[in-house]
Symmetry: C2
Subunit: 104 residues, 2 copies
DNA sequence: TCCTTATGAAACCGTTTGGTTGCGAATATA
DNA sequence: TATATTCGCAACCAAACGGTTTCATAAGGA
């Protein structure tokens, strides 16, 4: 089973969860209210996110507070880094044909 | 079938293909030599990447030259943008406990 | 204590994924 | 023309994915 941040953010629901948790930590029930699925489905996504260490569970009584753990998102950012130069230089501003010529 | 850059870069082989194509355009055969799979498997990945418009196929005789199309990678970059502030501010430099306090 | 609420885990299901093999079409070469 | 090479497509397969329903556990409230 692949467990890395790239696979984690492939799912749109998981991306939305991360965005919500970026505001403040939330319980599974509170999160589930934002989606058109069951609490258990959200819980499964939280499990994946926890295994990827993109999220951390903090118990509080009978509730569980999930918190964003931003560190591993940086891995995605670092991977993108190697392409950033390509879309920031002036060649990539031109159309695709020119890009092709440059690389061919 | 979901076809977006997030799903495209979830697969490690596809990420490696994108990195290789960032250097210069390549044919499916040339690409396949870099991996421990068949040409057809690489071809399938190229199909996905093409559908996501992360790659563009340029025919040349009986060969096909695949070129990186960087535009849609920016979508991932823009999504990450909303988290970048979190790991760039001084709070995220502290350990996870502090991060929790800040968000709780 | 009894009941409700919050949660995770397990079993199950249909679809998607990533891979293989085999094929046919089209281009280059002898 | 005949042959070899490059490639995409279709069929098939096992494993993973995303979802549901059901159940057990544990904590709060009447």
């Amino acid at each position: 089973m692949r467990r890395d941040p790239f696979q984690a953010i492939a799912d749109p629901t998981r991306r939305a969860i991360l965005v919500l948790l970026a505001m403040h930590s939330m319980t599974p029930n509170a999160l589930a209210e934002h989606f058109d699925t069951t609490r258990q489905a959200v819980s499964k996504h939280l499990r994946v996110l926890t295994e990827c260490e993109l999220v951390r569970a903090v118990p509080s009584g009978r509730e569980m507070h999930y918190t964003l753990q931003v560190r591993n998102l940086k891995k995605v950012d670092r991977w993108l880094e190697q392409f950033r130069a390509l879309w920031e230089n002036r060649f990539s501003q031109l159309d695709d044909v020119l890009t092709t010529l440059k690389k061919g």
